[in-house]
């Protein structure tokens, strides 16, 4: 029998206002094994922890139950306190009487009863607890960054500057990401490429950074400190070592009708292409779906004109397997599809565009060489209408419930730039709210109104209708004047909601990193651990975690890098001792546990066992405790009950259930 001490926390009034803590102490002190019980206002305080230390010494306790908040908050605190008192830390159990009890109940009598039951379950478990010892695992001193936009580049630079090797995996042919598609950046209006390309060059030239472009992560195994990742380097059809980046192949390529992804499909590109002039690496890829050589076997123009002999039609996808200690996800975003928003006529008129498309139109390297013109007839617009919150803040099924955060500012930027460059163009912005929290943000927006004469109208647009005269009829609300506005516009720009890059779902699944209903990666804690995934060793950088602008992305990228560096700086990690353990005498060698194990931690070997005096060789399960994450899938799968999770054994769990049902 254990000698158990029970400590009931008030958590100020968080628990004590709903749970009669004195009553809990009184009832649980009669439980089997309990030889000490007390309550205290803040168990997590230094004085509270001292209560545990004193009681362990005075009463010679062998186990501790703390009735307090979620073990996610303070399990580690109390385990350390027990360790200081000379107890094995795994002899401590938490009964969560806050999140699971006081916060969700109103009636004191009911809540107190439940608190007692939860405490009783924890006591029953501690009675069966055995001391466990954490093992150690090694840390591979190399980081993987998935995504080569500004978030990924900044994270990689910061990790590399700290002296660790970093690989960037980018699925498109060049690093740069969304930021490389932007023309100017708010609130200072500096040219996006001018501030981004030096970072791209720095990353490419950094001796500690290795960039895999046109590559995707295929498979991830392992765990924190010791991930093994398969990277698929897609066939570029161009030999990167030979190519000089002269660009002749792109000029001569006869297949020029593929939609230019970099320009958001607003113009076309050749089948062999680099996405943009400053691309890194400056090595083109052949789009095999568009290439005449690949489609018909005839052509081969690029091969003929390439002086360097770099074209290689036979190149195959290559799988590179590499080990990493930390993985940073920086997969970024895309704009949502507007198929559900017929009322804005996006699919009906070329002159209704998204803001990201406007960025390309305004950019000197874009489809109109930077001239503001209608895509339908090339004419210069005179009336431009911007519509805010297209698909953002929509709690219906068509859009996204969240605010995309960046649209208010980039619209003010677009409006200002247009009024500056084309003073004869009238700009009207239909808005619901103008949200400008950020340094110099509101001043920026006010400048658009006060100095550049941008007409802001409070009210959403209900309908955009293409007219026979080629213009667009915009029907919107002016809520302040209580009027309905009908306006003929030449161009309409939609502040389209942003959403996480589609590939993030697959990546999150491979990493067992959790994502929310909008496909944003979830943080380990929304306030206190905002750049870490709940999956150990996986960190979050940029918009994959939630909408944010460039300064915020760069700040988070640095934070994610620091977290990754903190991990890589360690030589060893203590492992979770709560791993699976097979009973070799019960194991029948069926392999079912190995089949369900998500971490590949279970193997089988032929082993001599002594079953009640009979010596024989049997095929039995073996668990690699360095790989095992203690998920318990094997324990519930094992048909003979041979697999047990240390710290959560079948006996312990049944004892908890029995205590609850008593």
């Amino acid at each position: 029998m254990q000698r158990i001490g029970v400590f009931v926390c008030h958590c100020g009034s968080n628990i004590a206002a709903t749970v009669d803590v004195k009553k809990v102490v009184e009832v649980v002190s009669k439980e089997p094994g309990v030889c000490h019980a007390e309550d205290y206002p803040y168990m997590c305080s230094e004085a509270g922890q001292m209560k545990i230390l004193e009681a362990v010494k005075e009463k010679n306790l062998s186990g501790v139950v703390v009735c307090s908040c979620s073990p996610r908050m303070h399990e580690a605190t109390f385990r350390k306190a027990a360790e200081r008192a000379g107890l094995n830390p795994y002899m401590v159990e938490i009964a969560n009487i806050r999140e699971h009890c006081s916060w969700i109940h109103k009636d004191m009598e009911e809540a107190t009863e439940k608190a007692v039951i939860l405490a009783r379950a924890a006591i029953a478990k501690v009675n069966l607890n055995t001391p466990l010892k954490a093992g150690e695992s090694r840390v591979t001193k190399r980081a993987l960054v998935i995504g080569g936009g500004i978030a990924g580049i900044q994270t990689a630079l910061d990790i590399a500057d700290a002296g660790y090797e970093v690989d960037i995996v980018e699925k498109t042919p060049s690093i740069g990401g969304r930021m490389s598609q932007l023309d100017k950046t708010f609130p200072t209006l500096d040219c996006s490429a001018c501030i981004l390309t030096p970072k791209m060059v720095e990353a490419a030239a950094h001796e500690k950074i290795n960039i895999y472009t046109y590559s995707e992560v295929d498979k991830v195994t392992g765990f924190v400190g010791d991930f093994t990742v398969d990277i698929r380097k897609k066939a570029r059809s161009v030999n990167s070592d030979k190519c000089t980046g002269c660009g002749v192949c792109q000029e001569k390529c006869p297949s020029k009708k593929s939609l230019n992804e970099f320009n958001r499909g607003l113009n076309t590109r050749s089948a062999i292409y680099t996405p943009f002039a400053q691309a890194i690496p400056n090595v083109p890829v052949i789009d095999r779906d568009a290439c005449i050589k690949f489609k018909t076997g005839k052509c081969g123009v690029c091969e003929k004109v390439c002086q360097a002999g770099a074209i290689d039609y036979n190149q195959q996808d290559e799988i590179i397997t590499e080990k990493y200690g930390a993985i940073v996800v920086a997969t970024g975003f895309d704009t949502i599809k507007l198929d559900n928003y017929d009322e804005y006529a996006y699919n009906q008129s070329k002159d209704v565009i998204t803001s990201l498309e406007l960025e390309r139109i305004m950019n000197a390297a874009g489809p109109t060489k930077g001239h503001l013109e209608r895509l339908s007839d090339g004419k210069a617009p005179k009336e431009m209408v911007f519509i805010q919150c297209v698909g953002s803040r929509c709690s219906d099924t068509r859009g996204k419930s969240y605010c995309s955060k960046i649209c208010c500012m980039y619209t003010a930027k677009h409006a200002m730039l247009i009024r500056d460059k084309y003073p004869d163009v009238n700009v009207t912005v239909f808005y619901i709210d103008v949200r400008t929290p950020g340094k110099n943000f509101d001043e920026f927006y006010r400048r658009a109104v006060e100095e550049y004469g941008v007409n802001y109208v409070k009210g959403q647009v209900g309908k955009v209708a293409p007219l026979p005269n080629g213009k667009l009829l915009v029907q919107g609300s002016d809520l302040l004047d209580n009027k309905q506005i009908l306006k003929e516009a030449d161009m309409v720009v939609l502040a389209t909601a942003i959403e996480p890059e589609a590939s993030v779902r697959k990546i999150a699944t491979m990493l067992t990193a959790s994502i929310d209903t909008n496909n944003f990666l979830t943080e380990a804690h929304p306030k206190l651990r905002p750049v870490e995934s709940p999956t150990a060793g996986v960190f979050l950088s940029g918009v994959c975690q939630g909408p944010k602008d460039i300064p915020e992305t760069v700040a988070q990228a640095g934070a994610a890098a620091v977290k990754a560096i903190g991990l890589l700086a360690k030589d060893k990690l203590t492992t979770n001792p709560c791993t699976a353990k097979p009973d070799e005498l019960l194991c029948n060698g069926c392999s079912q546990c190995a089949n369900v194990c998500p971490y590949g931690a279970i193997t089988y070997e032929n082993k001599e066992v002594n079953d009640h005096g009979i010596r024989e060789t049997r095929r039995v399960a073996q668990v690699n405790s360095a790989l095992c994450q203690g998920c318990g899938a094997c324990t519930v799968t094992c048909p003979s009950g041979a697999m047990d999770l240390q710290g959560f054994s079948n006996r312990q769990i049944i004892a908890e259930v029995d205590a609850i049902c008593r």
């Binding site: 009322e343 919150c389 803040r393 929509c394 709690s395 219906d396 068509r398 859009g399 619901i432 409070k458 009210g459 959403q460 647009v461 209900g462 309908k463 029907q475 919107g476 609300s477 809520l479 209580n482 309905q484 506005i485």
Partner: protein, 128 residues
């Protein structure tokens, strides 16, 4: 019935939660009868929220709404002002009592000027 009760009744009939409104005005932006109305579609929501049902019941808007449901279709917050208007109208009609429409009466109501939609909508609402 007090005004508060009417407010609850409207929410019950319409099945709409007016608190979800973020006051974007897309309903009024989309309404084909906007200029005919004294209380505009986006104001319907606040009238219901404020319990000012009398003004609603006496408004011209109640009878100018075509029940085209463009506002219902396009509302980004699922507030569906058209359904609120519909519910307010039903309460008024029920109070008056007896004013039901039978299929036989429809031919004589036909009018070139009248949108067909209105008849269909009226029949849906006032049939026994």
């Amino acid at each position: 019935m007090s005004h508060r009760d009417y407010s609850g009744k409207i929410k019950e009939i319409s099945g709409v939660n007016p608190y979800k409104c973020m006051k974007c005005g897309k309903c009024s932006a989309t309404c084909p009868s906007f200029n005919e109305m004294d209380i505009k579609p986006h104001q319907f929501v606040s009238y219901v929220l404020n319990g000012d049902i009398e003004a609603l019941a006496e408004s011209k808007s109640l009878w100018k709404c075509l029940s085209c449901f463009a506002c219902v279709e396009r509302c980004p917050r699922d507030v569906k002002p058209g359904k609120l208007i519909d519910a307010a109208r039903q309460i008024v009609v029920r109070e008056r009592g007896g004013d039901y429409l039978s299929a036989d009466e429809i031919p004589e109501l036909l009018d070139e000027e009248l949108p067909q939609q209105l008849l269909v909508s009226a029949f849906r609402r006032y049939k026994r």
